[in-house]
Symmetry: C2
Subunit: 331 residues, 2 copies
């Protein structure tokens, strides 16, 4: 029997469809770490609605922009922000070269281990110390310092590498959105070049899709090599109202889905979900003192107070971590 | 004759390869508007080298970042920057609402048509006027104003819509790079939200891959609707040393290919091509007074002086527009 090209093409198409169906069946639950229930159903319903060509809520692929906070949304932020742990270790490592730190705040409190006294204003204070300990480094040198620290440091409570302190259900959610042609972005109050060291490997988010707080950079050519030098001055704080501003500058398009866990994400969720049209906003509510941590309205890191009220009044989805997540961290 | 699944798979693979070869043959010249010669050969040789898996110059897909200047590199910038023509028209349109402009520079010179007097410092002056004429608008309102202007305005010398004043060979180059898994970015001194109105449709570059100069934005909720309001203050000037800085912040990864046409692009080309490793830098040299314009070392807009020297000393590719381009503009 001889197959014509057309016949072969038909056979191939049939084989491809059969293969695709088998794959679809094997992977039929894209969110296996999410327990069945309202939260999971709401996510799936939204993604299916915007992906349904010809449907009333269809959104063209280029507009499928989803933004994620990082600390407390994609990875743990207790007992303190990971970048704060990093900054403290850097202060200790550089203390000998900076003898004046023994008598200068916030360094002296950091060196004495009094973290609450060192950082009374949360993320802004942390960024100030990060700036001071890294200005003068090139972007590449800084990335190497972060990479080394992430490889060697362990979480104080869980003993795991920080890059394993990520939420398995959120990794699945990122992948699920991308498999439905969403472009996933990180929009974090944390340092942009701190995150870019690991976001591609850990989250599948390339550096150009990461927004964060940043120091000013200076271009120079040193010994014939072009470098970007970190300056001791903040350029942008990507928190609160800074999040929609950063999205406006960096993406230039409103997201249709936004994911956060604190009041610092509120404006990003408002920007995404207040306009008419299909959109999805979700808060991760930390309710799981046993497997992770339980905190919200009175937390030092990751305070979720106005955000909870906004979620209730706008009907945004709230993850009850203890109830909605079958597992929290990867194996 | 019965085909096993494996057999069918082999046949299908063979058919796919044969089909791909046929397509490749049909499209064998990805740059039909480029005349054969050294310039075209250099482009193709670079793209093939970095795409050759296992080859000595292979570059993994995520690192295939290419950055393009806009004015004078992707579209015409004579007799003045397009955004300057836009700014002049905006000043005229808003003059009645701003009676003081009759006696205030640079507005009075603009209204009198004395452009040289109005903008002695080039792009920075232009941006100042653009700021003044658009602060208080939301991003969406501003985009609508630009869209309307682009639809109704015509180039003073060529009579074409500005979005047709783009270079056909560069459109092919953008597409050729993308077909080899490059991610293409625009890095322009022009206003970021001015460009984003047309870059996706005209260049195939989505808004999140466009960098430019920008005004500060302010997030607000007006009548229940979230908006980004343009502020009367520059946030970032994406020109000269600002280009590698913008790339560092926005992309977070060194390009391996960069394309420009003026001294304002020099630092971007240095950042891209001075480090060791496979890279490609190209200057478009405007040598075609007949079909376009001829200008370089003494130009008011798009001065190319130090850049020409740097290209000669580093061996960067220089497009001789008159010689290298079979056509300049699309039909």
């Amino acid at each position: 029997m001889i197959f014509s090209t057309d016949h072969l093409r038909t056979l191939c198409a049939a084989a491809t469809i059969a293969g695709a169906a088998a794959v679809a069946h094997a992977q039929e639950d894209p969110l296996p770490s999410w327990n069945d229930g309202e939260t999971k159903s709401a996510i799936v319903a939204f993604v299916e609605a915007v992906s349904e060509e010809g449907g009333p809520d269809f959104v063209p692929v280029p507009e499928r922009v989803a933004t994620f906070d990082n600390d407390g949304t994609l990875w743990a932020e207790q007992p303190m922000y990971t970048q704060l742990a990093f900054a403290i270790d850097r202060v200790k490592a550089l203390a000998d070269q900076n003898p004046d730190w023994k008598t200068t705040e916030p360094y002296s409190s950091i060196l004495k281990g009094d973290i609450a006294k060192a950082f009374p204003n949360g993320v802004k204070d942390v960024l100030k110390v990060v700036l001071a300990t890294h200005s003068g480094l090139t972007s590449d040198q800084y990335a190497a310092v972060v990479r080394d620290w992430l490889e060697t440091s362990r979480h104080p409570a869980k003993g795991a590498a920080y890059t394993k302190m990520v939420y398995q259900p959120m990794l699945e959610l990122l992948a699920y959105l991308r498999s439905n042609d969403f472009k996933t972005f990180i929009v974090s109050g944390g340092g942009i070049d701190f995150m870019r060291v690991f976001t591609e490997e850990v989250y599948g988010v390339p550096p150009e899709q990461v927004m964060g707080s940043s120091a000013k950079l200076k271009f120079d050519i040193v010994d014939g090599a072009p470098v970007l030098l970190k300056q001791p001055e903040m350029d942008f704080i990507d928190d609160g109202p800074g999040k929609p501003v950063g999205i406006g500058t960096h993406i230039g398009r409103k997201p249709i889905a936004a994911f956060g866990n604190s009041d610092g994400d509120l404006q990003m969720l408002q920007y995404t979900c207040l306009p008419p049209g299909p959109s999805f906003c979700l808060y991760v509510h930390h309710t799981d003192a046993k497997r992770e941590w339980a905190y919200d309205r009175k937390a030092t890191f990751g305070k979720l107070d106005k955000g909870l009220d906004a979620a209730a009044s706008h009907g945004w989805t709230v993850v009850d971590m203890a109830k909605d997540w079958r597992v929290v961290f990867p194996d």
